[in-house]
Symmetry: C2
Subunit: 475 residues, 2 copies
């Protein structure tokens, strides 16, 4: 059902590119490291009725040329939903966007305005006014033009990423919003530039698009599209790993279906990745659905409890998962991309807690960096996972840990490197382990043998580069 | 009341020693790095009726000369108690020691036998038999000699640390236990050698001793003594950060008082330190109390609910805190020793959860390594702390964060560098911040302003060296 135009073209590229360590931070000339080019699409299929732009503001005074204002608009009022950081210190744009969605009941959203270079976090009342002003000015673009009767106030969500504890150069930003409106476009170049404008220390823009069909008869013959961009996880003094994500679809999703679809997708994607376990003040994932692909065919919107809803959920979760994985691919200093699968757990929550504990263990992460098949550290992390549902969630004698190569051999029995079988260590073939750990990608398979539930998590390793980047080390 | 003979002599040493980064692991010749010498006592006051020894076994075949078997005995039956790792994978010696304490109700304990070089963890039924055999053989030393009527089986606790997933060379170890018994001594050299024998990749032995008096009239004129040793947190493939600790006192502590005293002391010491947040399969902290100092004066034992109990608790907690801090001093690759104090919290549990979250944040730890006054990352960690008692546990507008130098100026107002005041960032004097962060020691003060409880945590930074050590990086 899901067809990805990006993945195939990216694969063609990848074969000719060598793996390279990323540099200290994003190159100053904004060039993309060779090892990351395979993750950047060269074309895409974008949803109807959306236009996007990237505009230079110079939020950071040192930025004299790179676009740092992204504007994503829907030509018609869209339904909108978002999930926000659970951090108790919530940045001003998080508070403002949340309020707008609440006030409008998630309806009549026209745009998302995003600046990079300053997170507008821990900025007090003034910061709230700045975020509101960005949203208001963006909203004006539509209120003046085609919605004079909209009395519910701002219809633009707002996001910021960058330095915290500093006020936005608000006047400068506001003065460029009409330029951003004039710059709007709907081709691949516009989407890619916009994905780049939300980046901070990312080494490559994170953009995906896909097209799909829905099973219901009303949707017969209609091709829907879904595009998404994300950024993170780059942190240089005093930035934090703000994770921003925007999803846009031209499928007709109802107001009450949109939020649960997003929440479920986020649970298995953006909430199942880890760079270093730190959760920022600004994390936001938003979705807009304008129904433009079906607008002239009077197609009824997707409602909860239907076959179309389930299909949409599958598409959205799969898409969000792939998008979120790009964040891990660009983890600071990362040399490994690891999926940890926890299977046969007593509950999905148990599986996720264990996967997340493994993904956050500095000992596991440094061992992977060192290409060391250190099952002891994985076992140890399983054993100290907090908050499991019962005493029997982990039983040493039924615990199995294996490494699986993340290529086609993953399905073959001979591809599996067993490390721990029913709680007893295997004699590890160190040579095979070393070969397996030479690859950038790896699957860590944990079979708890205590139930039937499972969960996956994606993470990267801890490298010297990670310490260099985050220590802002002065040599 | 508490007098520490070690601290003063250590201080004299410290002034002449420069700070140095530790090497890849413990030097092969067992020499102690110059920067750590100040933490190693040159004399001590040790409890009566205890004798200790360090004997070479060669648990690791590559170890041809360093002592790796520690034997700590009480000349008379002692009360014993222990706290063990909460990891669900519990090493064989943990299971055996726990059983012995249960069977005997914590009474009639004669010794602790400890090997380094192999953790006897994840070794199945055979491993349990090995640990039991170590305990049984150690017990024989006393059963044959002076306790023919003791029918409760083993009276020796057992601990192991080192590689996991490998069986002990049990015959080799057992054959050396009578030598270990013959080697027993009670002078400083014997205690220091024993503290060294339990080390793995530690760069220095961790030993403290102190003497104290108790307020009750029965204790008038009696000097009690308390000695302790610990090891951790060194991990090289496939070791984990086993933390072992042994406390011995000649004070007369009753059977039912000993365990709660230890649990409370551990809560504020060994359970309030963090190297990297990983909890091992072998962690054990044990205490023996033989009452030898008071034995000929018919002094009644310390019982719960008395003035003496409270005094003993203060002594023990203070002592265990200083001992546990030595583990942080030897944290892998550590260049900083940081105390985080969380004050004015709604509950002690809230304060401890927040302190522990800050202590575990890779972003905070790398910023400290980089000598970066990055309050944003501290704030962020406060904000994402899980499991707090209520929604109002953290209120941005009442949150204060400061850095305090860990020397005498800590008490002076001008020594405090305010970073965040009532949720608003301060204009930081970067030059002063830089000076403050040049010191090895630092206090991070968090004032939540939501209650009256507090907790402290001690941790170290994440350095390139940490990644090198734990990545076992092959250059």
């Amino acid at each position: 059902m899901t067809r990805t135009t990006v993945a195939s073209s990216a694969k063609q590229l990848s074969s000719s590119i060598n793996n390279q360590l990323r540099h200290y931070s994003a190159p100053i000339d904004s060039s993309i490291p060779g090892s990351k080019l395979k993750f950047v699409p060269t074309s895409g299929t974008y949803p109807k009725g959306f236009r996007v732009s990237a505009t230079h503001v110079g939020v950071k005074p040192s930025n004299t040329k790179n676009a740092d204002l992204a504007f994503i608009i829907s030509d018609t009022p869209a339904f909108g939903a978002a999930v926000f950081t659970t951090n108790r210190f919530q940045a001003a744009p998080v508070q403002v966007s949340r309020k707008i969605l609440e006030t409008r009941g998630g309806a009549g959203i026209r745009s998302i305005i995003i600046n990079s270079g300053c997170a507008n976090a821990v900025t007090g009342q003034g910061g709230l006014e700045d975020a509101q002003a960005m949203s208001d000015t963006a909203s004006t673009m539509f209120q003046q033009r085609d919605q004079p009767d909209d009395t519910q106030g701002s219809n633009s969500l707002v996001m910021s990423t960058g330095v915290i504890g500093q006020r936005l150069p608000t006047k400068k930003i506001l003065s460029k919003i009409s330029t951003a409106y004039k710059n709007l476009g709907d081709d691949h170049a516009a989407w890619l530039a916009t994905a780049k404008a939300i980046c901070t220390t990312d080494t490559f823009p994170k953009l995906l698009s896909t097209s799909f069909r829905l099973p219901g008869k009303h949707h017969d013959g209609i091709e829907y599209r879904l595009a998404g961009m994300t950024k993170g996880a780059g942190m240089i003094h005093p930035n934090m790993a703000t994770l921003l994500g925007v999803l846009c679809t031209d499928a007709p999703i109802s107001q009450r279906a949109l939020k649960p679809l997003l929440v479920e997708a986020a649970k298995k994607s953006f909430n199942a990745i880890s760079i270093d376990g730190d959760t920022s003040t600004n994390d936001t994932l938003a979705i807009l659905a304008n129904g433009a692909a079906a607008a002239d065919q009077e197609t009824p919107p997707i409602e909860p409890g239907t076959e179309d809803y389930d299909a949409m959920q599958t598409v959205l979760t799969d898409f969000a998962t792939r998008l979120s994985q790009l964040v891990v691919r660009d983890g600071e200093g990362a040399t490994k991309f690891v999926e940890v699968r926890v299977r046969n757990a007593k509950s999905e929550s148990d599986a996720k807690l264990i996967a997340s504990t493994i993904a956050r263990s500095p000992l596991v992460k440094t061992a992977l960096y060192g290409k060391d098949a250190n099952w002891g550290r994985i076992l140890c992390a399983i054993g100290y996972t907090q908050g499991l549902s019962s005493e029997d969630s982990v039983v040493p004698a039924s615990t199995n840990v294996s490494f699986i190569p993340a290529d086609n051999s993953a399905t073959k029995e001979e591809g599996v490197l067993r490390l721990l079988v029913d709680g007893e260590p295997e004699q590890v073939d160190e040579e095979r382990a070393a070969r397996l750990l030479e690859d950038e990608d790896l699957i860590v398979d944990v079979n708890l043998g205590t139930g039937k539930q499972e969960a996956s998590y994606w993470f990267c390793d801890f490298s010297h580069e990670y310490v260099t980047i985050n220590g802002d080390y002065r040599t």
